[in-house]
Symmetry: C2
Subunit: 417 residues, 2 copies
């Protein structure tokens, strides 16, 4: 009973996270019942017979979440079926020339060679990335057609039926996925980048907040009184939370740790870009939208996340510096993280709205000028008195922050392109 | 013509990278020709008829590279087919009670509900990770059996044939993959970790080499005269290379950059661990080997790689420090990277041989003592005169190196567990 309730709760969460999933499930159900009407409707059944099953199979296997993935798989499947069908007929013809004893042996050899060769080609990295599914269907169709041809004399009819049912199944998937509440992989990739940038901005805005409360440099504020401080995190977190409200604090801490999901977003981005290449123009995206550029920007964002991860490990270190020095360092450090965070936030918003980031340049320049004033502050030799161990941690955090600002600039530049 | 030659060269490379790929291709060809003998051999054909096709399909879809993946897919497929078959028969029976007009409508509704529900469940993260394929087959079999039951009266016979051919196909895949040159995902995961640790050790040994040639601190040696220096990289690279031999230099530079592949190894490790869970005991691995522990160690290794990536960006920075200071810093820095590199190397070797790392502890202790002497050197205030910008870069590199040593210790500890 408890398990069922867990399952329902999990289901609600999954649906709430992305309501398009529910719509997608309905779409699959719809297409599948449509296509299985082949069996019910007499004229259709008369012309396809048991082969109508291929249409059902195609729907189940081809219908993916996004338009790009469905289109890619559908085209792959149809092309592979066509090609393997032709080859299978050829093999069957060739084998039948060798008489009734030779035929099965020759067919087995053909199947062996074709399967071994195609399986090997699937290991090629470039093939694996885009045509893995094609080759699977190629092996399958070739084996089925060349071998079942041995029994059924009408191998041409069989192939024709198989190909047309596959096309019918594939086409219905593609049409429904494009015209009924489409989910575009390109749009998803675009939003993924925007949300990744936003996650980084949360972190940077987080560490730049509440600078005014005590004489501490910003990079140490996380450690002490975690709950209370996190309550004042970022712009939209300025309302204070009651001391006992651990749920709210947890939620905000989560927001703060969100950047960690960016560290491993590479494979997700790559598959989305792969799907997006198949998609026709939609919304503000043209057919040949520069999806590769997205991967480059994604890589830069990830690099920035690596630095933030390193910086985060210093935030938890307990560093003792005199109040005097803290006071002086506080202002430029706060401005550096605040301005770079604002620049990121602005970029994320402009990515979402697909407009040019208007004030990001300004924020980056502000961050850089804060950098300069920090450097000249350090030049003036205020750190001469600091213990070496503290110095290492402090300067590392500073240098990581500088890195982050430079990367922010890089990301902004590639956005402009 | 040029393209064909490229293809052949690519094929040779793929085969050389992992010769088991060639063996796997042969295995697939073998099983497929075996299973298609259903069609040739009269008694078998008499009992299964066209349904023998399901065996062929099962082989093509289920036979994966590693034993774990094949077993997992095979079990998933058989279980899903059994379950969906039973449910399909039930649905068919229920629908047939409602007369010939009601039946197709009721069946369509059943298919719709089942497909929509299963598709939705596939979005659950835990289901997606392990049972995605099960659900696909579940939808497929249910649709095929409940719907084709509408035509063929012998729905029980059909289901029985489908299930037994799927079991035959799945079983031949599993048997061949276990008993003919098996590829164990668990073994692969183990080797992957070992090679990842080795890649990191290459980097660390690389930056610690040729410290004696000039008065430069180790962290700057890469920038100047790239080729010549990389030629002396690490233990096994001590032979010098002729100036013109750019190929050899490129190869060694590649070795040095190898650590970058560790940064994105997460998804690979996770899928291998997922497959390994299905595998029976083999070699030195028991059935319930703690594969989760591997993921933890993999995570630590990746964290270390993030630090190394950050460190690498400082190696290329041009830092000016007086010869006097360099001289003093050189020895502890060199020892830090050398000893941590040796510890890593030792760990990788002991992982490969599956023995306890004997001297890694010693190397880590040496690295830590070098750390201490460096810290006390910095305490003595030798950096008072250094420009602040240089200081930042220098100290960041030092602190990253300290981080790396600490992580090395963590990895070693989790290896002991």
């Amino acid at each position: 009973m408890e398990k069922v309730r867990d399952l329902v709760r999990e289901g609600k969460r999954v649906a709430k996270e992305d309501p398009r999933r529910v719509v997608h499930s309905f779409k699959v159900g719809l297409v599948l019942s449509l296509v299985s009407s082949f069996y019910y409707y007499q004229p259709l059944y008369d012309s396809f017979g048991v082969n109508a099953m291929w249409a059902v199979m195609t729907v189940v296997v081809v219908f993916e979440f996004s338009v790009g993935a469905t289109l890619g798989k559908g085209l792959n499947r149809v092309a592979a079926t066509l090609f393997a069908g032709a080859l299978g007929i050829g093999a069957h013809h060739l084998a039948s020339l060798s008489g009734s004893t030779g035929e099965p042996i020759l067919l087995a050899i053909f199947v062996f060679i074709q399967a071994a060769l195609s399986t090997f080609v699937r290991f090629f990295p470039r093939v694996k990335a885009r045509y893995d599914y094609s080759l699977l269907i190629f092996i399958l169709t070739f084996a089925l057609i060349s071998v079942s041809g041995f029994r059924e004399e009408q191998v041409l009819v069989l192939t024709h039926k198989r190909i047309s049912t596959v096309i019918i199944g594939g086409l219905s998937c593609v049409l429904i996925s494009i015209f009924v509440c489409p989910v575009w992989a390109g749009q998803d990739l675009h939003s993924l980048l925007a949300s990744n940038v936003e996650k980084l901005s949360f972190f940077l805005l987080g560490i730049s907040s509440n600078y005014h409360t005590r004489f501490r440099i910003v990079i140490f504020i996380i450690k002490k009184n975690k709950c209370w401080r996190l309550a004042e995190f970022g712009d939209k977190y300025c309302e204070t939370v009651k001391d006992g409200d651990t749920k709210e604090v947890d939620k905000r801490k989560n927001d703060f740790d969100n950047y960690k999901s960016v560290l491993n977003s590479k494979s997700n981005e790559e598959s989305l870009a792969n799907f997006a290449k198949w998609e026709p123009g939609h919304g503000q995206f043209r057919f040949r939208h520069p999806w590769k550029q997205y991967l480059i920007i994604g890589g830069l964002i990830r690099q920035c996340a690596y630095r933030i991860d390193a910086l985060n490990s210093y935030l938890n270190a307990d560093i003792q510096v005199s109040i005097d020095i803290r006071k002086k360092l506080e202002e430029p450090l706060r401005r550096m993280s605040l301005e770079s965070g604002k620049a990121m936030k602005e970029m994320s918003v402009s990515l979402t709205k697909m407009i040019k980031p208007s004030s990001s340049d300004l924020h980056v320049r502000n961050a850089q000028s804060a950098c300069k004033s920090l450097t000249s502050l350090l030049h003036s030799g205020i750190l001469k008195e600091v213990e070496s161990q503290e110095l290492i941690s402090l300067l590392t955090a500073i240098s990581l922050l500088i890195d982050i600002i430079n990367l922010t600039e890089n990301i902004l530049e590639s956005l402009h392109e």
